[in-house]
């Protein structure tokens, strides 16, 4: 129940659209979204496939709760093999398009092959057709969105699209939906571009039903909403300040990645914080933040809608940026801010707009620019290499210019589009890439938050905070406070967060709900919608199953336990200031215990016993 039980399979090579039944046996093991799409991907592609070849597949997928009345149930994911990492990619996005897929009657869309010419997929309930994208290929995500709405004369059409960066080969291109939500990480947009697929436009009017026990579902959902409303984080903190409330927190605890992670505290943090977004600007007297915004069905509404001072140099004579649009989240604020040494809130908001407009992952983009700045300052890059750009830390104008170039895939922006791993290797300084498995770090220096070092090192999609967010416990005390500077107990903590998150990511719910919800709040909603068998224990086991399946895919793709590591800087160079001064990340103290808890070999390979127990083989 709750699933539509329908898959839409799109063969781009033959330009055909086919309806298939969802494999309900697999749904019983993997629930939906992240887990179920990973099962399909691992069954259907060779793990060694080249990510940008027609043999790779791209799956857009919802969870069983997506589109229902459950709070935060607006999520969808994109699952494929990543061109940035060579590992499994699963990028999760909110907005409204996940709900629309379900309303049109589809749990999942599987794209295979490569179209002979640029196309977009148009879906209206059961009807699906591939149409020429000649007129939108080369356009930004925002222009594409506008064109499709005009073309189909339907203001309620929901659109997911790539921008120009993906078409130009940027390896961390995102898929933008609803103008400013993104399946952001690991280059899922680049895979979409490689298939000559510009966009998906969908309109569904069928409603989302198939709820197993509607009365029980309504009760469980209402109970859940009450918990979110009464919790100070989800009821007040996130709606008021968004994720950006963390800027000052993480800076104070000394885990703010600064100037390519050379430092752990940024002197300009206050100026680019969630609090600062509320303050009137000295220039025009208006605050950066216009309002908060919610995705479909969300009763938290942490999204930011912001404006830039119309007189700011970045948007002078560019009236298209004068209005309000998707504002800074913490991850884009630190990556473009502290990591590049820039403390200009207007400039950061502008480059964040550009990430939405042209579909780029702000974490990887900001971190790659920071790595380039360090190489420039150390003489590994010169003005000839950069096309005349003075790539120095703290240079606001250079930041704006290089993001514009990357969005268009021009000049040195083309090289930034490689991501920091390839860029730093090319210029002889591989150790300056702050990545795991080729993906850049998010906003938490693991010298100051030890568990995050293990979470990054073992994340199946490369460095990521959303695969095991132990910050919640280590810094914020949710659900219980642990000491961020100790390693004891962190292996268990990381595994618990990883498994629980994999389950939530497979349901259609947002992981931010877990700041208030425990599995005891989530399970009754899934049980009422999908069946009594989805107990807390079953959900956590499904999470463990998903984690191991992703891991197995990566191993089969050629990754090894040796890839579960961190850059030398974080293992050898101690933090210089704050509570973590003198600390490196002690990954070696946590990793063996983690492998043991997972039931993996000493080399980090899932054993036959564990794969058997979980029903993977």
């Amino acid at each position: 129940m709750a699933w539509t039980r329908n898959i839409l399979r799109i063969n781009l090579t033959t330009l055909s659209c086919k309806k298939e039944p969802l494999n309900m046996e697999w749904a019983g093991q993997y629930l939906g979204q992240r887990g179920l799409a990973t099962k399909y991907l691992t069954e259907e592609i060779d793990p060694k496939v080249a990510p940008l070849s027609p043999e790779n597949k791209l799956i857009m997928t919802t969870g069983p709760l997506t589109g229902t009345m459950a709070s935060t149930a607006g999520r969808y994911s994109v699952v494929t093999k990543s061109p940035l990492t060579g590992a499994i990619a699963c990028s999760n996005s909110g907005g409204f398009i996940g709900m629309e897929f379900k309303n049109a009657g589809w749990d999942m869309i599987i794209f295979e092959g490569k179209a002979p010419y640029p196309v977009y997929l148009y879906i209206e309930n059961e009807q699906a057709e591939l149409l020429s994208a000649d007129e939108i290929w080369g356009k930004t995500a925002w222009a594409t969105d506008e064109w499709l709405h005009n073309q189909h004369q339907d203001p309620l059409l929901r659109i997911a699209t790539i921008g120009r960066s993906a078409e130009k080969g940027c390896l961390f291109a995102a898929i933008i939906n609803d103008l400013h939500r993104a399946a952001g990480r690991s280059g899922v947009g680049t895979v979409m571009a490689s298939k000559n697929l510009k966009a998906v436009a969908v309109r569904g009017t069928k409603g989302v039903g198939n709820i197993k026990d509607p009365a029980a579902f309504m009760k469980a959902v209402n109970d859940g909403k009450k918990v979110l409303a009464e919790n100070p984080v989800t009821g007040e903190g996130l709606p008021t300040y968004g994720t950006q409330v963390l800027m000052n927190v993480i800076n104070e605890v000394g885990a703010m990645p600064t100037r390519n992670m050379q430092e752990v505290q940024f002197e300009g943090a206050e100026k680019i914080s969630g609090e600062a977004m509320h303050e009137p600007r000295p220039t025009d007297g208006k605050p950066n933040l216009v309002t908060n915004a919610g995705c479909f069905a969300c009763t938290i509404a942490c999204g930011r809608i912001s404006t830039i001072d119309n007189g700011h140099f970045s948007i002078q004579h560019k009236p298209q940026y004068f209005g309000a649009s998707g504002g800074l989240e913490y991850e884009s604020a630190w990556a473009f801010g502290s990591d590049t040494g820039v403390d200009d809130l207007d400039a950061l908001t502008y480059v964040n707009f550009l990430c939405n407009e042209d579909g780029m992952d702000p974490i990887t983009l900001g971190s790659t620019i920071a790595a380039a700045m360090e190489m420039f300052e150390q003489g590994n890059l010169n003005l000839e290499d950069t096309g005349g750009l003075e790539l120095r830390f703290g240079s606001t104008k250079t930041l704006v210019e290089i993001v514009e170039l990357t969005a268009r895939g021009e000049g040195f922006g083309k090289e930034i589009g490689l991501g920091s791993k390839r860029l730093c290797e090319k210029y002889g300084r591989p150790e300056l890439s702050m990545t795991v498995k080729g993906q850049e770090f998010p906003a938490y220096d693991p010298r100051g938050i030890q568990g995050m070092g293990l979470a990054y090192a073992t994340s199946n999609r490369g460095a990521c905070h959303l695969r095991g967010y132990t910050v919640s416990s280590e810094v914020m005390g949710i659900p219980e406070k642990t000491d961020p500077l100790v390693t004891e107990g962190k292996a268990e903590l990381v595994k618990a967060f990883q498994d629980a998150t994999a389950a939530v990511d497979s349901s259609g719910l947002c992981v931010f709900s877990t700041f208030a919800w425990s599995m005891a709040d989530i399970a009754p909603q899934i049980q009422a919608a999908c069946g009594d068998e989805w107990t807390m224990e079953a959900l956590l086991e499904a999470g463990e199953r998903i984690w191991n399946l992703e891991r197995k895919f990566n191993m089969d793709a050629g990754l090894r336990g040796a890839d579960d590591t961190l850059p030398k800087r974080l293992l050898k160079e101690a933090a210089k200031t704050g509570p973590a001064a003198g600390h490196v990340n002690d990954l070696h103290k946590m990793l063996p215990e983690y492998y043991q808890l997972r039931g993996w070999s000493q080399d980090g390979v899932p054993t036959k016993e564990i794969l058997n127990r979980l029903g993977i083989i």
Binding site: P232, G237, T243, Q244, V245, N248, I478, V511
Partner: protein, 83 residues
């Protein structure tokens, strides 16, 4: 002794507008506790979830103890989280 007090998120309202970004400097004596400072500033103690001194978390049971040294920085938030 002198300490700096910084309040964040919705607790900003308990500081004068001109001091919200930088925090305020307070003269205290050696016996002053974190909770006494919060009471003085009218910050609701039961909502003070994250309380750091020089960036290190202070357990709730230690917030009625004299823990300050000269030039310490006290930073306080209500319950917050992000991603």
């Amino acid at each position: 002794m002198k300490i700096t007090v910084k309040l964040f998120a919705s607790f900003r309202q308990y500081l004068p507008v001109e001091n919200r970004a930088e925090g305020i400097s307070m003269q205290i004596n050696e016996s002053t506790t974190p909770h006494q400072i919060l009471k003085q500033l009218k910050v609701p103690i039961d909502q003070a979830h994250l309380l750091l001194v020089n960036g290190s978390f202070i357990e709730p049971e230690k917030r009625d103890q004299s823990i300050f040294k000269n030039n310490d920085i006290l930073a306080v938030w209500p319950a917050v989280a992000g991603g």
